[in-house]
Amino acid sequence: MIYLLLIFLAPAAASLWTLFGGKKEGYVSLAGAAISTGASAALFWSVAGGFAASWSFAGFPGLPFRLEVSYLNGLLSLVVGLVATLIFLYAIGYMGEQKGKWRFWSSISLFLGAMQLLLFAGDWILFVIAWEVLGFCSYLLISTKHWNAETGRAANKVFLINRFADLGLYIGVFVIILGSGSSKIAEVPQASLSQVGALALLLAAAGKSAQVPFQSWLAAAMKGPTPVSALLHSATMVAAGIVLLIKAFPLFSPGMLVWIGAVGGITILMTGLTAIFSDDIKEMLAASSSSQLGFMVLAIGAGSPGAALAHLVAHAFMKSSLFLGAGIWQHGAGSTQFEQLTGAGKKLKVTFTGFGVAAVALAGIPPFVGYFSKDGVLAAGLQSSLPEWYFLAALGGALLTAMYMSRALGILWKGEAGEIQNSRGLRWMQGGLLAMLVFVIGGGFLLHNMMEMAGFTLPKAQAAQIGGLLAALAGLVAGWLMAGKTYHHSAVKFIRNNYPLAGGYHVLVNRPVMQLARRCRRIDESIHRVVLQAGRSALKLSEAAGVSDGLLHRGVFGFGKFGLRLGNWSRRSDERGIDRLIAFLVAKVQALGRYGRRIQSGLVHRELLWSVWGLVVFVALMFLILM
């Protein structure tokens, strides 16, 4: 329990520290993440030994919050923790003394805490809470450079699309709770979910995991700092959608799985194409993230959450390594456009090697981790109810993956290099990148055991291994040949811009939302007017109440003034003999007035009179009721 609390509370504390203006934001946040990951590792050690538990506390009547510790949760938490810690390490170099780092560190620490909470959530309500905090943090993080108008627009776009999809989660959870009467995330459900509820959950997952048709927000999110892209948009936040599907997997009926598989398959192919034609390295990686998440959704659709989980773990490490590499180039060349990055790999050989290893791993070449996980997905496709569709989509996806990765490598290696500056945080950044690679290289051999421990199986099939390898090799060759060529066909543009059908995001989301906002403002204004009126009448009422107080005050003052006047008058009618007597009297009266104002003795009896009147009224009221 103490470990579990540390996992959430350490990053949350770091976030608060930064928020309240603590110094050394970066190091404190790193420490928070490291403590969290340490606790996560300790917890993982005990769950690996067969430990499992759950705690219920607080919450709504009858629907308590639950935290659940199982092998699955522990594993995901460790992965998230490790990736986050390495990215924090890298971010210390990346953020340096940049403007906005205050906001950056406090939100990213909070983000980590919320992600861990999401993983351990044992009931749907806590899950929704963590999900919401994630969405909010991602908005803050993307708009780290909020003084830049473009960044603001991008953050809004991400937020709007995500909000729309989040609606699905609310509906889905509502349906689950209504259906089962309990908010518990159960491994063995009483009844499977209705079609509406399942579709709602799929909507939520597709939104968070950037699946078709919501894939375009991920490209917009790349306007944020690179560590944010690496953490949120490769390893963690987008994975929340997959976590949702894995947790809800027992609730889905077979008919529903086909829908899920379809979304995954279409996403793999569409966003894979986008990645091939992309002209910006970060946008390429974003599209690739969508595509790889599509693999996971496909695996779930094929009925194998194990394969999805394996690919989730593997992808987290591979994709964050790639992002970290991209960040180093961004710092060096001052841009993420491929045009400016041609040949950059020759200048930064260490980074290029790291980037290359991660790229080849993602393409699915043994012995790297990506080979094992992709095989799992392909084999899952073969074992599913619609083997030809699932397998072909996944195979096509593997080919596309290898193509875009190898194209990127080609661009970075071929051609003449431009100016590359060595930034000051380079060492920190390379450190983060290289540490990440350890798992990319060695992790593949552990995947099988991990999945078994988590209670899943990682499917295996010879056809999948051979097919996947062939597709990867073919893709790598094709991609290398494509590098350096530019495409200007209008269809390519259409694909590159994430399929802006019917005007895309702007027409479909932006304009209606703005319209609605304008309408709401009009309603708001009229409500405002009514409230103002009500406020004015309340003020008048209180004025009346204030007057009674004022009257009494004036009475006391009047008493003092009267004394003064008396004094003046008496001075005017001054006679020598009684002069002193009158002066004495005036002084006494003045003193009395002052005294009276001080103690307000004139008031107490009047106020008491009020009280007595009150008593009389109440007694009279009671008699009246009685009659």
């Binding site: 309340a538 209180s542 001080r598 103690i599 009020w610 009150g614 009221l621 009685l626």
Partner: protein, 452 residues
């Protein structure tokens, strides 16, 4: 007998602490006096916690040990502990500092007697002990304002107590006993019931600052040291309202429609308090009127007391919430200064504290998920459950008005430029505001731990 003594052990611990703290002061150690208070209060509330769940009476029906009286011990003892820490940082090294702590405990004892009263004499005794100790505390500073406030408090106390005693004799006369449980006696005629209840309302209204018996409130608050004002706003009020609840529980509504009268007082208090608070420029006076309004909300719980469970829960939860958030608001005021201007730019000088104050004030308004919301939510539920929907509606409208009152403090904190350089916050004050801050949020979130 021994059993009876064991039952009222928390109250006995409080009494012994009061004496012990006085002795420590006589020996010249204000610190010792404070520490006696801390240890005694923690012990008393610990004993009360261990007894939670007991429902019985002691000393042949004269004192009740139940949910209300036990929770009163817990919340008041812990509140007085926080207030003593506030008083320490405000009055440190003044003449006879230790008497303050001793008097604080004595007056708490008065409130505790009220909260567990099963006999009319305990009501009278509770109010008298509270009044006398309170008067001395208000006058402690010996300034003109303090004297004025103390005088008002005293004169009000003597008149209202006299009226109350006079009225209560009707009850004793009609039933022939001082037990509250005797109020069921059919011999209690309507007229006697009315006079007695009206008079009781005067006494309780004075102690709990309910309209129209509240007039002492702003002057006494302004004159007294801020920590004493915080005490006045919490301790006597909780005692008075719980005492009223103990009486109302026994008084049959067929003889006399007392819930309607209490509801009327509630609406009057809320409305008057909020509306007049809008006009105050002095934060202490503003908070004084706000406590008048909060007292109005508080007695909504009494209206439905005969319905049982929910009303009792509502009283306890709101009591806790009110004690916590009000102490919090007062401690920040103690640190900043009494004028509205003193809050200008607090958000820049002490951002954490400004956030804390905002949370306290929003909790006073009743914004979820803070403690104030939990309390008000239950109270309004009680009102609706006992058929007083109009009362709930009036209370909700009042909550909206009160937002305007508290915004008058919140807005300058964040939207005005600071006039002075940030000053260091005393450790005692920091301790109190952070504790109350955590509790304000914690009570709101962990609501069900306080329910029966």
């Amino acid at each position: 007998m021994t059993n009876d003594l064991l039952l009222i052990l928390p109250q006995i611990v409080v009494l012994l602490t009061a004496i012990g703290s006085l002795v420590a002061e006589m020996m010249g150690s204000a610190r010792g006096s404070l520490w006696t208070l801390v240890i005694g209060m923690v012990a008393a509330s610990g004993v009360a916690v261990s007894k939670l769940g007991t429902v019985t009476t002691a000393f042949s029906n004269t004192f009740r040990v139940d949910y209300l009286s036990l929770w009163a011990v817990i919340m008041l003892c812990l509140t007085i502990l926080l207030i003593a820490v506030m008083a320490r940082s405000e009055l440190k090294d003044t003449y006879r500092e230790g008497t303050v702590y001793s008097l604080l405990i004595f007056s708490t004892l008065g409130a505790l007697l009220l909260a567990g009263a099963g006999d009319i004499m305990f009501i009278v005794l509770g109010i008298l002990i509270g009044t006398l100790a309170g008067t001395a505390l208000i006058a402690y500073a010996k300034t003109d304002r303090a004297t004025e406030g103390a005088f008002k408090y005293y004169i009000y106390g003597s008149v209202t107590s006299a009226v109350m005693l006079f009225g209560l004799t009707f009850w004793v006369g009609a039933t022939g006993t001082t037990y509250l449980s005797a109020l069921h006696d059919p011999g209690l005629g309507s007229a006697a019931a009315i006079f007695g209840f009206g008079a009781l309302l005067v006494g309780i209204g004075y102690a709990g600052s309910l309209v129209p018996f509240h007039f002492w409130t702003p002057d006494a608050f302004e004159g007294a040291p801020v920590s004493i004002a915080a005490y006045l706003s919490v301790v006597p009020k909780v005692g008075a309202v719980f005492g009223l609840a103990q009486v109302a529980r026994e008084l049959p509504a067929e003889v006399l429609n007392w819930p309607l009268v209490v509801a009327a007082v509630a609406v009057l208090s809320m409305t008057f308090g909020n509306v007049v608070a809008l006009w105050q420029d002095n934060v202490i006076r503003l908070l004084a009127y706000s406590t008048v309004a909060q007292a109005g909300y508080f007695i909504i719980g009494v209206v439905g007391i005969q319905q049982g469970g929910l009303a009792v829960n509502a009283l306890v939860v709101f009591g806790i919430a009110y004690a916590v958030m009000n102490t919090g608001a007062f401690v920040v005021t103690q640190s900043c200064g009494p004028r509205l201007r003193d809050f200008n730019g607090l958000g820049k000088r002490h951002p954490a504290m400004a956030v804390g104050m905002t949370i306290f004030l929003l909790s006073l308004v009743g914004v979820p998920p803070l403690a104030g919301f939990a309390g008000k939510f239950l109270l309004f539920g009680t009102a609706i459950g006992s058929g007083y929907t109009w009362l709930a509606v009036a209370a909700i409208i009042n909550s909206v008005i009160s937002l305007a009152v508290y915004l008058r403090i919140i807005i300058p904190m964040f939207f005005s430029e600071p006039e002075e350089a940030p000053a260091a916050v005393k450790p005692g004050i920091r301790f109190v505001w952070i504790t109350t801050f955590i509790l304000t949020i914690g009570v709101g979130l962990g609501l069900q731990w306080f329910l029966v």
